[in-house]
């Protein structure tokens, strides 16, 4: 049994699985149920000035019959009175002293507002704070959430104000609705953030109803953009985590968020530099019990890898993430088809023929349909192995290069040195 405890910038929790600030952490009842189910921490649904919510809030995207491939919401921060939330945080922390409770906060970008709310939530015993600079809908129209999270100066300044008052670690939650997330991550670091978390949701419109022509969801015939999350956003989030992890100016721990649905997703985020992860959509889709396999699967994985602690996994793939200009231009892989495993759906052939490099030939041998890769034309794009429905039918295999490795950057350097 590996040790799953994490310590994220001083916030300790029994495992790396936290519930993200969202509908699942709306109340003490829910957070206590989550802790009983095994979640290591919870970021409470964002606290702030009183707001009102609309009815009809969520929508999801199905893909080929698979429900909740992506998820969209237009719900705002908590609509419950601050006093009620604080009371429930206090009670929950008392019942679960070893679990992490982080208060998510969102107020107007004013120093006194931040000072006031930080004091009130720290008084009830939270383990840390998460500044919501990410929600893209509703609150952003009032200058909060992603509206302030998109301006590096505002991120830095507000983080600084919070740090003036805070006694617990401060996590800054970043919005992905920005060209380069490392810019705001650096700003948060400059402001004194103890950690950053990412990603918040991505601006989205889930769909249009083809019968009524209403947006999905709609509120009395009108829609507004929401925030997108769920499995579909995982690659976007993973890249943002990795970019921050390999940026020396973002020298704080990262809490990874975005489409994490199981222990494998979590392990990928941890390998790419996240110290822990936050989950929402998967819990909303299946309930709190999914954490059982997350814990169990991660444990077994760490045992298989011979790691004593999940903290030993953090960031292990970061150094493998690089710039395109540092990739070896002379590395060569090609597709290899195993006709004994192949079921002859010919998807690789048509994918290559229509949309890639026309190097998979169909032929028959003793009346049996066969497929073969013309290696000299194969660029190693992987498309055939991606569309192949059968494991082991197509392998991408390395072909030894006859010339030494050379990256684009090395090549350019060499060319410029020759032309001098």
């Amino acid at each position: 049994m590996a040790d799953l405890h994490i310590n994220l910038a001083g916030i300790k929790s029994p495992n790396p699985f936290w519930l993200a600030s969202a509908p699942p952490t709306n109340s003490g009842y829910q957070v206590q149920r989550a802790f009983e189910a095994g979640w290591g921490g919870a970021v409470w649904k964002t606290l702030g000035e009183p707001i009102l919510n609309v009815s009809s809030r969520f929508a999801a995207v199905s893909y080929n019959g698979q429900r909740v491939a992506g998820f969209n919401n237009i719900e705002l921060i908590t609509d419950r009175p601050l006093e009620v939330n604080l009371q429930e945080i206090y009670e929950t922390k008392k019942k679960f002293p070893n679990h992490a409770i982080i208060a998510s906060l969102m107020v107007e970008p004013k120093q006194e507002k931040w000072h006031e709310i930080v004091k009130r939530v720290e008084d009830v015993g939270v383990d840390g704070l998460e500044l919501n600079f990410g929600c893209p809908h509703g609150m952003a129209e009032r200058g909060m959430g992603s509206a302030s999270g998109q301006v590096p100066e505002l991120v830095e300044k507000q983080t600084y104000w919070v740090k003036e008052a805070a006694r617990t670690p401060v996590i800054v939650k970043l919005t992905p609705n920005i060209t380069d997330i490392t810019v705001t991550a650096e700003a948060a670091t400059r402001g004194g953030a103890d950690a950053v978390s990412m990603i918040n949701t991505i601006n989205s419109l889930a769909g249009v109803d083809l019968d009524s022509w209403n947006t999905v969801p709609h509120v009395a015939g009108k829609g507004a953009h929401g925030g997108y999350c769920g499995p579909a956003v995982k690659p976007i989030a993973l890249n943002m985590v990795a970019e921050c992890a390999r940026n020396p100016l973002v020298n704080v721990p990262i809490s990874g968020i975005g489409g994490i649905s199981n222990w494998q997703d979590a392990a990928e985020f941890i390998l790419m530099g996240a110290t822990g992860v936050q989950v929402c959509t998967a819990a909303m889709h299946h309930g709190f019990s999914i954490v059982e396999d997350m814990i169990d699967g991660l444990n077994n994985y760490l045992d298989d890898k011979g790691l004593a602690s999940v903290m030993d996994l953090v960031g292990r793939s970061v150094q493998r993430y690089s710039n395109w200009g540092d990739l070896d231009l002379n590395y060569k892989i090609v597709a290899e088809i195993n006709n004994d495993v192949c079921i002859n759906c010919n998807k690789c052939h048509i994918a290559c023929e229509d949309t890639s490099h026309q190097c998979i030939d169909l032929y028959t041998e003793d009346g049996r349909p066969m497929l073969k890769v013309r290696e000299e034309d194969c660029v190693g794009c992987n498309l055939c192995s991606i569309v192949c429905p059968v494991d082991g039918a197509i392998s991408m295999v390395e072909r030894p290069s006859t010339i030494p490795p050379m990256t684009w950057n090395e090549r350019q350097t060499l060319i410029s040195s020759l032309s001098k």
């Binding site: 080929n64 019959g65 698979q66 079921i343 002859n344 759906c345 010919n346 998807k347 052939h349 048509i350």
Partner: protein, 455 residues
């Protein structure tokens, strides 16, 4: 037979003949449709005698384009709703599905039914006739081959008249396939679709009785002979005229024409033969309330022509199989009712010209099976006199055709379906008859098309 009063038994009997397989739910259909790999150059298409673009119609179910899905199916197969129910899919499309090698094949038949059921329920008109080109074609027989030819010819602009001896069009679908596999309303809808295209179907019209072959030849530019096959031949043994001796085709036909009767309830039945019609006869007898149903076959399970799924189905229905058993004589009482069959045990000898081992009697092994009724299902007779009335060359009742042109010995007469199928090749499939009907229509069009259209 006396129709019985509406009571518990009638209700039970009617229930017994309702379509066995439930239709897929929308969720099931979409889930299954999404499992289709959408193969390139898909083997299922090649395995379908009518070449339905199967991955396309399945994709359209997944995308919610039900009209497109039904059109894709019915474009290639005018009686695609029937075929969805009666095709031996595991020997055709589903047998060719590449997923047989990895998981399990797509339920193509059930998806095809799901899509064509949509067309039936919405009664969408999916096809239109072309303006008349001034040419007339007569089709003899409104079965799968004839209906298929008629649909295609009317779409090509021909004025089509079908002559059908029965009171209803549909052929095998209306009279020969048990209702719990193929309900009447499916066939009726398909016939209706073809009538909507302006095809004139003259039912209750027997060629040779109500209109002569010569008149038809004189009145039409082309003729398609698609008469299928006739009654079950005699066994050639004593006692065939006793009460209780049934022809399987006639037996099934009565269950399709309704109302169902109770004269089989509690009876012991023997079925002679082991083809698909024998299975239909046997399972119909079970559903009519027979106490015991046994199939007698002079060869073994290995040689029987019934599809494997039909055999499994009959066994599940409790039908017993007596292999290597041949009837010698039907025994009756003084009142002229049969009481049993004298049988003889057989053994397999040398292989015959068809490759199958020939059954031979085991001397002195005669025995008697006590049964109340026997259903003969040893094949079907040919409409030889009708074929000869048209003056067509034939081999044992199978019309000789040029396989590339579908033409008979009379250039003006084309033939398709069961009437050209046979001589030891087992039973023709409905779906093959449909394709032959299409082919005959296209061949006629090639012959009759005006030179200006070709240029």
């Amino acid at each position: 037979m006396v129709p019985i009063q509406e009571n518990a038994m009638t209700i039970q009997l009617r229930h017994n003949f309702m379509e066995l397989k439930a239709k897929m739910t929308k969720n099931e259909a979409i889930e299954e449709a999404n499992r289709c790999l959408y193969c390139y150059d898909a083997p299922c298409i090649k395995a379908c005698p009518t070449s339905i673009q199967i991955p396309n119609f399945i994709k359209k179910i997944a995308s919610g384009n039900m009209k497109g899905s039904a059109t894709t199916i019915l474009e290639a197969n005018p009686i695609g709703a029937s075929c969805a129910r009666v095709c031996p899919t595991e020997e055709l499309c589903e047998g060719a599905c590449v997923l047989n090698s990895s998981t399990k094949p797509i339920k193509i038949g059930e998806l095809q039914r799901y899509a064509t059921d949509w067309a039936m329920e919405t009664n969408a008109q999916l096809f239109k006739p072309s303006p008349h080109n001034g040419q007339k074609v007569a089709i003899i027989g409104a079965g799968p081959a004839g209906l298929s030819a008629a649909r295609e010819l009317s779409r090509l602009g021909y004025q089509v008249t079908i002559y059908e001896a029965e009171t209803k069009a549909g052929g095998l679908g209306s009279y020969g396939i048990v209702a719990f596999r193929l309900p009447n309303d499916v066939v009726d809808w398909e016939v209706g679709q073809i009538k909507q295209l302006g095809v004139n179907i003259q039912t209750n019209t027997t060629v040779g009785v109500d209109i002569s072959a010569a008149e038809i030849l004189a009145q039409y530019d082309s003729v398609i002979l698609a008469v299928g096959m006739g009654a079950v031949p005699n066994l050639g043994i004593d006692g065939e005229d006793l009460e209780g001796v049934h022809d399987a085709i006639e037996f099934i036909r009565k269950t399709k024409m309704g109302p169902l009767t109770n004269d089989i309830v509690g009876k012991r039945i023997a079925v002679i033969g082991a083809g698909n019609t024998a299975i239909d006869g046997a399972t119909s007898a079970v559903r009519l309330g027979a106490d015991n149903v046994q199939i007698l076959y002079r060869r073994t399970q290995k040689e029987m022509t019934a599809y494997k799924f039909e055999y499994e189905f009959a066994k599940q229905d409790g039908v017993e199989f007596k292999w290597l058993t041949a009837p010698k004589k039907i025994i009756g009482n003084k009142a002229g009712k049969m009481t049993g069959i004298e049988c003889v045990k057989m053994q397999l000898g040398e292989a015959g010209p068809d490759g199958r081992q020939r059954p031979e009697e085991v001397k002195g092994s005669n025995f008697i099976i006590e049964v109340d009724a026997v259903i003969k299902a040893i094949g079907q007779t040919r409409f030889v006199s009708l074929i000869e009335a048209f003056g067509l060359a034939h081999t044992n009742g199978v019309v000789d055709i040029d396989e590339t042109t579908m033409q008979t010995s009379n250039d003006k007469v084309f033939a398709c379906g069961d009437v050209v199928f046979g001589n030891g090749q087992g039973e023709a499939m409905v779906v093959t008859a449909v394709q032959q009907g299409k082919d005959a229509a296209y061949k006629i069009h090639e012959c009759l098309r005006k030179p200006s259209e070709i240029a």
